[in-house]
Symmetry: C2
Subunit: 690 residues, 2 copies
């Protein structure tokens, strides 16, 4: 669990390996090649990102269809760089031709904040005389500045400073001891850091001052728990072992598991990207999704007092879910037989960096997959399920986001996100009223209300790229009780509303109708149900964006205004809040609102993307502190009318008996797990064997 953001031990041996899959992230060598090519032409420059430019979809679909006879799409590096003085460049480098094919200077945009950008701010804060002055006012003597910490955040947008100067806001904390959790000691002022000048250019100071809390530290590390209460001693081990290894095969980054195939990509913004997801339906390889990823998120805070309105981090677009990824450790983050993938990035200097074990791939038992007993004779089938989990975890300053992409044997894909980590906190005075905008989770600690809103980008490929989205609402049948058409008043049906234009697709969740959205291929009907083959988005954690229409968050996070937007596919539309998110003013609103335009574009029976915003509204409570028990959130993509029968019928059952076998004709199948044991819990003298 040491610092695993390693500089590459140069994987530079070219030509000895098979060429990368066109969806593969750039290797360390490719990243360094791109930097080398740029350096040759543009000299010393700070690299913000060097990542794969995914091949154009048209070209890629052809290659996927027939890789042997189709030219392999070119490897292109997508580069963001900042020249001395702060000028930002978007560039493209063709790695095979060794050529820069695009090099554009941008005005008034800021690329995301890297880990290196973040690291520096705290050190500068500690030495800044204005910050030191404020610390003294807070009750921290000058000689204790090494006990002052800051979580640098993107600034959101502050009209006083605009978009041209690269800024961070420093949320300030104090640690009595280096091992104390700083989140119990928030400071009340907020320095503004200029990344070009590398200095503090302003400090926001509240009218009401809130000196450093005098409460005891509130820690979760070993020494503190041992002193407080001691650890629980009554948890017996649960061992999960896979003596024969895993049930999946890995070919490069293509995972083949239980009829699923998926390419596991990764980039600095989205983290895991799943490409070309197919299901082998009795020998026919059927495409399901061309690409799935978490494309953006926003975490608006609900305290209206300046400068807290600035707290609404776009953790992906402003920091990068890939950049912030944890290096995972065996037996901690995942249990069982684990396959890891590393992630390669560029650093500021143009060297490649590796996060070891950034992606975890493993299986878990999934409980009962299906079961039925016949009440007549107790003939029964019990089949246990299995799931494949592709996960990564990223740390966004105080918060942790654990992202699990889960494949099920019944054709379902599930996205589960666990929120853990630590609440963002602000100082409060003894007896101060939080006014409902936050909760005092510990004396002197105000944890503000906030939302975690994620944008899932779904690029469906339901038996081909031409798909149509239907909104589905459980709806009462027409006619009152006693009417001819509904005499008993019990009629209900799935009302399907077809989205023909982008405008029509802008829709919200409706809990009353259990609203779902179906991505369908209307060109292909299920032979039994005569309904279009489809995958249904089932998502129940879909709060409204609470910042009001016209507010800064509403303007900047256009994607979060509605639960679903459907757009026509375009290669360059990946990031729903825009390509460069920090310090956007929201005027115009980047990303989805731009792409919607007049909303008249046709989205029926064509190549489309469905953008889904979901998440939770978090009103903190003391239980969430000093470190928060994981809060899970989940959504499903389920096949509906896609298969002609339960596609998991051929998963071997644990036990199966038919009526004739129960009657004594033929042996039942008993493949029940022989590892499970009856236990005599609590030391009773009697054994409870069946």
């Amino acid at each position: 669990m040491a610092l695993d953001r390693l500089k590459s031990v140069a994987d530079h041996v070219a030509g000895t390996r098979s060429p990368p899959h066109p969806f593969d992230p750039l290797s360390n060598a490719e990243i360094e090649t791109a930097a080398h090519i740029i350096r040759r032409e543009h000299g010393k420059i700070h690299y913000n990102a060097i990542t794969l430019l995914e091949p154009p979809k048209k070209e890629m679909l052809k290659w996927l269809e027939d890789p042997a006879r189709t030219p392999r799409p070119a490897r292109i590096a997508d580069v963001v760089a900042i020249a001395p003085g702060g000028k930002v460049y978007d560039g493209l480098v063709n790695l095979e031709e060794g050529k820069i094919t695009k090099w554009t200077a941008l005005e008034g945009v800021q690329p995301l904040i890297t880990m290196e950008d973040l690291q520096v701010v705290e050190h500068i804060c500690r030495k800044d005389p204005k910050v030191i002055e404020q610390c003294i006012i807070s009750g921290i003597p000058k000689e204790d500045m090494h006990k002052v910490y800051c979580d640098p955040w993107t600034i959101g947008y502050d009209h006083r400073f605009g978009s041209n100067v690269r800024l961070q806001q420093a949320l300030m904390y104090y640690r009595p001891h280096v091992d104390d959790s700083q989140y119990s000691f928030p400071l009340d002022f907020c320095p503004i850091f200029d990344a070009d000048k590398q200095e503090i250019i302003h400090i926001d100071i509240p009218e009401v001052r809130r000196p450093l809390s005098k409460a005891k530290p509130n820690n979760y590390h070993v020494a503190s728990i041992e002193t407080d209460s001691g650890y629980r001693k009554d948890i017996k081990p649960i061992n999960i072992t896979q003596p024969d290894g895993v049930s999946f095969k890995v070919d490069g980054r293509v995972i083949d598991w239980q009829k699923w195939k998926v390419h596991v990509g990764f980039n600095y913004k989205e983290g895991i990207v799943l490409n070309n997801i197919t299901y082998n339906d009795n020998g026919v390889i059927r495409p399901v999704f061309y690409r799935l990823s978490l494309a953006e998120m926003v975490v608006p805070y609900g305290n209206p007092e300046h400068p807290h309105q600035r707290k609404h981090a776009f953790d992906l677009g402003e920091y990068g879910g890939g950049y912030m990824s944890n290096s995972l450790t065996l037996g901690c983050d995942c249990k069982g037989a684990i396959h890891y993938l590393d992630a390669a990035f560029v650093n500021k200097a143009g060297e490649s960096m590796t996060i070891k074990n950034a992606i975890c791939i493993h299986e878990e038992d999934a409980g009962i997959l299906f079961k039925h007993s016949d009440f007549r004779d107790d003939s029964v089938i019990v089949t246990r399920g299995r799931k494949l989990i592709i996960s990564h975890i990223f740390t966004a300053a105080n918060y942790e986001y654990c992202v699990y992409w889960i494949f099920h044997q019944d054709g379902t894909i599930q996205l589960e996100i666990k929120l853990t980590g630590i609440l963002n906190t602000y100082a409060m005075n003894p007896g101060e009223d939080t006014k409902g905008w936050g909760t005092e989770v510990y004396p002197g600690v105000n944890a503000h209300n906030h939302q975690h809103l994620f944008c899932l980008r779904i690029d469906p490929n339901i038996d081909g790229p031409n798909n149509t989205v239907f909104q589905v609402d459980a709806t009462q049948g027409p006619g009152d009780v006693g009417s001819f058409e509904n005499p008993y008043g019990n009629a209900f049906f799935a009302k399907k509303t077809k989205f023909t234009t982008v405008k029509e697709s802008i829709s919200d969740y409706d809990g009353v109708t259990s609203r779902t959205w179906e991505m369908a291929n209307t060109n292909k009907l299920n032979p039994y149900s005569h309904k279009p083959v489809s995958y249904k988005l089932v998502s129940r954690e879909v709060p409204k964006l609470l910042p009001k229409e016209g507010s800064l968050v509403w303007k900047r996070a256009g994607f979060a205004r509605h639960a679903v937007h459907v757009t026509k596919y375009s290669d360059d539309q990946l990031y729903p809040a825009g390509r460069h998110v920090p310090q956007t003013s929201g005027e115009p609103s980047r990303g989805i609102p731009e792409w919607i335009a007049d909303g008249d574009a046709n989205i029926e029976n064509t190549d489309i993307v469905l953008w889904h915003t979901f998440g939770i509204t978090h009103f903190p409570s003391p239980e969430d502190f000093p470190i928060m028990p994981a809060e899970p959130m989940t959504l499903l993509l389920r096949p509906r009318n896609f298969f002609t029968r339960n596609p998991a019928l051929d998963v071997p059952p644990s036990y199966c008996s038919t009526p004739s076998q129960v009657a004594g004709q033929g042996a039942v199948l008993d493949a029940a797990d022989k590892m499970s044991k009856l236990v005599v819990a609590g030391g009773e003298a009697k054994c409870c064997s069946k």
Copy 2:
């Protein structure tokens, strides 16, 4: 997996065991004692149920407080019996005094349908000339009547027959071979069975006839899968072992696990009943819930054509979730180290019966409980969670319901329900239009739309019985963007609406505001947040009851009209659709609507019960057939302002390093699971060790 509804091998040795816990279900001996006492006085009678009458809450709370010095509440058997001729009796038997203390004849009610009641119908159908005639019309020759099957259902309410005659409706099927799934061969007519006369008194015949389907059988048993496609061969075992046993202790039926204590009861209607749930908060035993159970459910079908409106089974009140419980098998239904509890019931003759292994109690790994990394130095804590699962599975004719009560270390209680089993199906002709009321899931098979609506009975005891419920809605702050109070438009807060009367508590789900309900003790404030200690109901699968106001289902299932009702506690209010559910007309509507009365009763700061209706609306698709992959549904009861900090902080971490340890001062805690293994997936030559 043999037929495990065993007659008791008389556990009649009295006096040698310690007396039962007052919440313990009646033992086999107690059941037979009750039957014996009744037989003595009333002669031969058919027993419908003999179950524990739980002690009055007032008396029980006193006993729980100080069991050593409080008189033990009496053991009372609650009896339902049917005399020859059909007269129904409700009785009470004091087992200690050997006395019948209540014996009341009831008019116009029908107690639930037992397994014995169900079993007989099929045999009578096969011999009935009118049924044989209809089978012949359907294309089944007389000599094939042994291939005709029926799932007997309660009749709902049919005004032609009323409530005085005990009825079942027989949903008819055919099996070409005894091992074929009958649900692919539904027949189109519906005999009505009179349980008193033990004969078919009527057959409902549709205007449009639908002869027996000529499609091939559609099976899921071993022989058919082996013939069709063969089984998947690439699933490697996952072994879950607990070499040191389980982490819970069992004292009778009281389970003690990770600071939780809970008494696990069971009855024929609700199945698992959890009583007196407490949490040990640093040595203080704090009551959380007095009683939790699934108290009722209703499954309305949405096809308006006669007689399908009758399909709206109340699976608990009309059949009994306990009576229909499966006998569970090691390594099939649960994995790991398992503790089972049996269930004892009475049969028609007054003998006691046992379902072996009706309740499964086991632990599972619960993934990451909490995690945080400091981005400065990668100091980190990762703690894995554990959960305790108390589960049972019941088979309601075609459907299976798997019910999991899950306790978490962070103070959360989760209820998960998995729906599996087989769709209820009806016949359709080739080319027939389902009109949107169902889906053709296989040729000739129409699976009708339906809802599964469960009613969770929550008897909160949040630091004592006097509790208050608040509805909580995530709400935008007042003031437009630019206003004084909300200058940035970002303000939002948790709007809490206190329920002071029953009327006010009648509430629906609101997905837009992520509505939750808090059960609070307003007499006790959290010392940090100054908010009342509470548990929050977080439930997101809350569809509207789709049968219309005034419809039969709406009248009979009053509880399902709204997501939440809160009533004042009363010992006799356990069953939200009434004590005897079959053939109620809904006029008056039994259960909750009766208890609401004028709705003026005070429910503030008093002993209350919260009734929560949740579930899913199910529009079938071919993927659900011929056996349905489990569809999960979940809800949480989460502590909010109940604890002063994360109560799971003392769960030993897998890995913990502090900043000073990262800097080399002192050893980090590395307790990571050493059983997990890196794998070389796909046979690559390189090992991916970290």
